[in-house]
């Protein structure tokens, strides 16, 4: 009778308890490590610095200027910085987003800013000019093409990241 009542022996009880407590401790140690291991994966999926700029439907073949702001932290001072881009669709319907910063001394260029060259970007500071694809016109002050923004289209909205310099030719 008494044997039947004791369904869990002392040995079994100790076994269960030790496995349980041991397993719990092991899990406690491993869980943070798992988090470390997959953390970079989680970060990459969040697409860091891209900012929504404009609806794709608003983009035409004529370059248009769009402004947006990003928050920039300089050590102990957070400020809002305005960024701009000239955005258009090229002949193959690809979106092109060019930085407006002149490669000469950093002024902002304008599309068709000079009446004599209605199909070029024009820098008002020192008469620098760029073709529609952003390449600099030879014999004007700039010696490189306009930077190109990293871009991505999600749900019909254009996201822009950082402006990247062109490869040197």
């Amino acid at each position: 009778m008494s044997e039947k009542k004791q369904q869990v022996s002392r040995r079994q009880f100790l076994n269960y308890t030790l496995t349980g407590v041991g397993g719990f401790m092991a899990a406690g140690m491993l869980a943070p490590m798992v988090r470390f291991a997959i953390d970079p994966v989680l970060q990459a999926s969040a697409i860091g610095d891209m900012k929504a700029v404009v609806e794709v439907s608003e983009i035409t073949t004529e370059p248009q200027r769009f402004d947006w702001t990003i928050e920039q932290v300089d050590a102990w001072y957070t400020s809002e910085v305005t960024k701009s881009a000239w955005v258009y669709k090229d002949d193959n319907d690809n979106i092109v987003a060019l930085s407006p910063v002149c490669k000469h001394l950093g002024c902002q260029v304008n599309w068709a800013g000079d009446d004599a060259h209605p199909d070029q970007f024009y820098c008002p500071c020192h008469d620098g000019r760029y073709y529609k694809d952003g390449m600099n016109v030879p014999d004007t002050p700039p010696n490189a093409g306009l930077d190109i923004y990293e871009h991505e289209v999600r749900d019909g909205t254009l996201f822009l990241g950082n402006a990247m310099p062109r490869e040197e030719v």
């Binding site: 000469h104 001394l105 950093g106 002024c107 008002p124 500071c125």
Partner: protein, 152 residues
Amino acid sequence: MKWEKEAVKVYEEAKEYVDTLCVPLSPISLKNAEIASRLANQNKSIHILANELERQYMGRIFLSPGYIYSQSSNFEEEVSKLNQWVKAIYQKEFPHIFYLTYDVKWKKVESYLDGTLIWIPASKIEDYQSRQAKEEIQNQMHQISELIRTFW
């Protein structure tokens, strides 16, 4: 260019291309709370405007740190002080000098200034993040830069 570490270095190398100086003029007064808050707000606006102008034309414009004066000062004296201030600091580096201000009192004495006064009628911007404020600043900036470009 502006009075910042990196920009000053660039300026040193590109001096020959930078021929325009912009100086924001801001009055200060603490006598009356209402006026003080208005002046403080105008000081902020003028700097936002000046910074935007510098961003557009940084290859040719040097933005000076602002000139600060007492709102109750005698403007004939203030003009000669400002002229000396600019001369002492910037000497003959800039063929074009522009003063940006919301203070209409400069208008009366502008003929004595070494340079061109750009007086902007004050607009009441309360919320700088609003779309309206940004359009307003862009608008003013465009008109000012049009004026400056006629001197180039």
